[in-house]
Symmetry: C2
Subunit: 228 residues, 2 copies
DNA sequence: CCATGTCAAGAGCACTGCTCTCGGTTGTGA
DNA sequence: TCACAACCGAGAGCAGTGCTCTTGACATGG
């Protein structure tokens, strides 16, 4: 019952992963907009219609690519964070930020797929939210643990003209019992991180400055100053 | 010689602007990827091939749309800045930041065209760099003038582990004789501003928090703290 | 008044996502 | 063992895209 079904299903799983693999290769070279089901099928030596046996639509294929990319980014950040001493919160912060940037620069098209202009007529299904929050969860954890260890100055300097934050339950859970000021500063730093990286990946910094590595380090240090 | 040619040329100019107008409408509703020359021609009741008399390629049409969008954003920011008292540097900063955000939220597809994932196989011609820097120039001017007026604390707190910035001549000119620390902090704030706005426009903040207006104000205030 | 240059339109090419049908294979329950 | 059902690949086809080339109509200027 197992091996018998496996004959077919193994071939199916094989071909499915083969499709995603070549699709990922196309995505990395041509970009999301240039990803063509027909081209993928052509590379695999099969009819374009056959691909639809494995992915009911291009969006479905895109979804698995998105999930894979989120996981790849998440893993990279998790590893960078884990490589540092647990109590070295600024070091963990810097390492995680650089991990995001390194991954983004190494996989610009995947980064564009995750954080760039949304693909038209594509609605991200529920399956993506888990992997999507993986890298962000690392950054949030660093902030929360730093706050618990008393290594965070953020909470001590609440901003005067600050209205209350209306956070979603998910985010509130991510930050546990951290005070609002901490969450607000973390949100600010989070978006700022991706602002720089996005500009760098999308070429907005192209004619602006060289030596981006050290300039980015400075940026991350400023963000850390807001937090730690 | 003038009026005679004008008969033809006026018709040509008329149709050209008519094309860009409907193209801009399509862009605003469908997005850059959904912009179709054939659809524009259909809306105008003419053959698709006729459009190519006015724009040699889709990229060319896209370029004028990009320039228009950059100018619209630039004008919005310039007006917001001009509406404030010249010496109220934090106020000008806040107003300009909010102007960028307001324009972006009002024109999400145009924003995506300017700051989102680059359009595949599209290379921005030189004509775009002028309008592109317009909105950024406003922010830079605020920082420079604040520094000259001695209203900038940024220069007083240079960052310890900071390598030298290798700026392009254009940017160096934009910031005149401002010290490196000021430029670095301005760069950081600039990217952070667009990081938040990009996340908001592209839906990254969708399930994260409500009351974005006040949360954004807080973000801008943090950025101001880094600068002023 | 006629040659010249401009223009819109149509056909056509190569490409896309996607659907449907037609055989062929494979797996399974009777 | 055999038949039936499920699955699978290939091909044709539809509607759409950007873009090119040719054709015929029109206005303009010498």
């Amino acid at each position: 019952m197992k091996a018998s079904q496996t004959a077919r299903e193994r071939a199916r799983a094989e071909l499915t992963s083969e499709i995603t693999r070549t699709a990922r290769r196309h995505l990395a070279t041509e970009g999301a907009a240039g990803l063509s089901l027909r081209a993928v099928a052509r590379d695999l030596g099969m009819a374009s219609s056959a691909v639809y046996r494995y992915f009911p639509s291009k969006d479905e294929l895109l979804t698995t690519l998105i999930i894979d990319s989120y996981n790849a980014l998440g893993r990279a950040v998790e590893e960078a964070d884990a490589a540092r001493d647990t109590s070295d919160f600024p070091g963990r912060w810097r390492a995680s930020c650089h991990a995001v940037r390194d991954w983004a620069l190494a996989h610009p098209h995947e980064y564009a797929l995750l954080f760039g202009s949304p693909v038209p007529d594509y609605r991200a299904p529920r399956d993506t939210v888990g992997p999507a929050s993986r890298s962000t969860a690392v950054l949030a954890r660093i902030v929360v643990e730093a706050h618990r260890a008393g290594a965070l100055r953020a909470a001590e300097r609440p901003h005067p003209d600050a209205g209350p934050l209306k956070l979603s339950p998910t985010v509130r859970e991510l930050f546990c019992d951290s005070p609002e000021e901490v969450v607000a500063r973390a949100l600010s730093a989070w978006t700022s991180l991706y602002g720089w990286i996005g500009f760098e990946v999308f070429g907005q910094l192209d004619g602006v400055l060289e030596g981006r590595e050290s300039a980015f380090s400075r940026h991350v240090a400023y963000l850390a100053d807001v937090l730690f």
